[in-house]
Amino acid sequence: MTRMREFALPDLGEGLTEGEIIKWLVAEGDLIELNQPIVEVETAKAAVEIPAKWAGRVVRIHHPEGATVLVGTPIILIDTEPDAGDPPPVPDSASGATAPAGSGASAGPSEANGSRESAEPERISVLVGYGPRTAAPARRRRVAPEPSTVESRPSASSTVEHQPPVTVAHPAPVAPTPVGPPLAKPPVRKLARDLGVDLRTIVGTGPGGSITRDDVYAAARAASQPDFATGPDFSTEVATRPSTVAVFGPNREHRIPVRGVRKLIAQNMVASAFTAPHVTEFLTVDVTRSMRALARLREHPDWQGVRLSPLLLVAKAVLLAIRRHPMVNSTWSGETDEIIVKEYVNLGIAAATPRGLIVPNIKDAGRLSLRELADALTALVTAAKEGRTPPADMTGGTFTITNVGVFGIDAGTPILPPGEAAILAFGAVRPTPWVHKGKVRVRDVTTLALSFDHRIIDGELGALFLRDVGSFLSDPEGSLLAWA
């Protein structure tokens, strides 16, 4: 049995928190018997006498008459073996703080456990009512992470189709079709309904196969039915036509509900435009040699039947320029305060559709040969036209090209797709008077417009990049020899 024992003020009546010491019935040095009354205490409910919990000698009285102490505060120290020689030394400082008599202020419990003398005093027992919580609230440490309790959605097959190496923000969805009702939480379901997306057709990428907001957005983009226009090749004449005629109501206004893809696009634009500081630089280039190169390619036996357009060479130009200036192929990551520069180029091609803008991308386009690139572009265009663009192609783009030339205009100030650092617009190719070898000639000229995120790309880098693209388009063969 521990020799030196601290006695703390117990809860004397069902939830009391403190007591006032009225009168000590013993003094330091007294020998006491078990259950001998030692102190009178007044609580909110009653005045009570407390009997000694142990026999022995009173070593120290911690709080004087008149003090109000909290339940759990040691009030007296007893040597339970007074005949066993000198007791261990006891420091002078009293435990806890006392309050002026009658003020109603409270003393705090001390850390008497093991802090006072060399012999370990007994752990303070504060029983029922447990006294006031004077220690700052703290949380018990947890060790094991809780296993996720989110239910999982079964899938028809667990095999993963081999995908070309792709590093995207979300893992590519598993190809097998999902079975069972779709798992999605209420806000996601609402989003799907607003965007006109059928949850049953989506493979979720969230925990347990649940469908996330991004999954819904991706599906919305893919589900659109684009009337994809890359424009007539080489055409410098684009007939204008009236756009959709609105039907005005009796108050001469026409209200169009903003929903679905349009709403989504608007949200994305706002997110992008008002997050990344946009700067646009322009370069007008003589692309006559590119047009001639395309014509020669069209005659090449290996390239029979391959659909060719200036877009192909613009794409190639961009890819080579990115290799020389990788920084333009990056993402600003606010949450981690990082710029993530990517080696892979998922080249997005903006497509205007009646349902709005979609931007499918070609994964890892930088590793494709010119032929592969041409085929990929063809596939992309065809799929977009037919509304078959797979959801995976709708996400993860790193650089975008937008062909505004199909609309017969020269340039624009395109808005970055969210998460990308730069977007290139190229305009109509027009026969234009140009200074060529010192003389004014009619050449095929187009304007390139590069919008970029000024947090990542400064004016000089943008210019360098743009000039590289321009150089390529002015002299594709020479550039291929020099850079490819």
Binding site: D11, G15, P137, R140, E146, K185
Partner: protein, 327 residues
């Protein structure tokens, strides 16, 4: 809080000579928690008196007194002892106004200390509020702090509907400054909930904690610790259980997307279920996770040595927030 209730009762006795206080040991002893201390001495034995030992008798005779024009404030000594009076409360007190076509009013207040955490023996730690909330015709309120205690008891006495007034006994000795000079008319409304910890609009709030009575303090402590961990939680003190004032809860949940209800009463059929149902209905599209409940388990109240395991604690509340975030 005990003193705040005492002062509030004193004011009520002063303001209206028809107010009576009746119950076991409320007179000379001043109540087992001293809530009626000194009132018999100052207002006399006609107005503050001990009843015989019978809860059914206390409430039943209060009905008669109310019919006669008095405003009885009954004390039921402990939550676990209200059941002999339950028949009088739900069959009579709750229904008489309705049955009389509005002719009869029973402005009765039944004060009941409730809840656990004081190391008591059986029947002294119950949380029976759901039985009364489920009964139309009754009003049910509960204070969580001394300021509310002081005002709410006076407002309850002034209400012409019968009010079951639950007092969390584990908070009886909590202290707070109360401005007793303010006017009752200006006091926070009786049947309104209150946001007791609001997250500023420019910071993201991780979850909404909904509590009442003794668990308000638990929720606030959990929020304090969560803030240290970098998560901001809003805390709402319901105060009124019937009627429930959930508009502030809805507003909060629309921002946080996550709601957690905390009460000592057992889980099944407890008020958490009602609140979860309403929040789900009103905030469906905002819910990132189901409404969770941190409650006593579906067992009889355990022996005192185990009550800390049974009652909602700071750790259990934060555990629920963690689980909510996994959805």
């Amino acid at each position: 809080m005990s003193k705040a209730l005492n002062e509030g009762l004193r004011r009520a006795l002063e303001d209206d000579p028809k107010v009576l206080i009746m119950g076991e040991d409320v007179g000379r002893l001043g109540g087992v928690f001293r809530v009626t201390d000194g009132l018999q001495k100052d207002f006399g034995e006609q107005r503050v008196f001990n009843t015989p030992l019978g809860e059914s008798g206390i409430v039943g005779t209060a009905v008669g007194l109310a019919l006669r024009g008095y405003r009885p404030v009954c004390e039921i000594q402990f939550d676990g002892f209200v059941y002999p009076a339950y028949d009088q409360i739900v069959s009579q007190v709750a229904k008489i106004h309705y049955r009389s076509g509005g002719q009869v009013r029973l402005p009765i207040v039944i004060r009941i200390p409730y809840g656990g955490g004081i190391g008591a023996v059986e029947h002294h730690s119950e949380s029976p509020e759901a039985y009364f909330v489920h009964t139309p015709g009754l009003r049910v309120v509960t204070c969580s702090n001394p300021v509310d205690a002081y005002w709410m008891i006076q407002q309850a006495i002034r209400t012409d509907d019968p009010v079951i007034f639950f007092e969390p006994k584990s908070r009886y000795w909590e202290k707070e400054e109360v401005d007793t000079t303010a006017a009752l008319a200006d006091a926070y409304p009786l049947f309104a909930s209150r946001v007791v910890r609001r997250v500023p609009a420019d910071r993201p709030a991780a979850a909404t904690l909904v509590a009442y009575g003794p668990t308000v303090r638990t929720a606030l402590q959990a929020a304090q610790v969560a803030a240290d961990e970098g998560r901001e939680l809003e805390v709402i003190d319901l105060r009124s259980l019937s009627p429930l004032d959930l508009a502030p809860v809805y507003e909060s949940v629309r921002r946080t997307g996550r709601a957690i209800v905390v009460h000592e009463a057992s889980r099944t059929g407890g008020l958490g279920a009602e609140i979860a149902s309403r929040v789900t209905e009103e905030c469906f599209y905002s819910l990132e996770a189901p409404v969770l409940r941190v409650t006593g388990y579906d067992i009889p109240y355990p022996p005192a040595r185990l009550e800390d395991e049974f009652l909602p604690t700071l750790d259990r509340v934060l555990d629920a927030v963690d689980r909510s975030e996994k959805w």
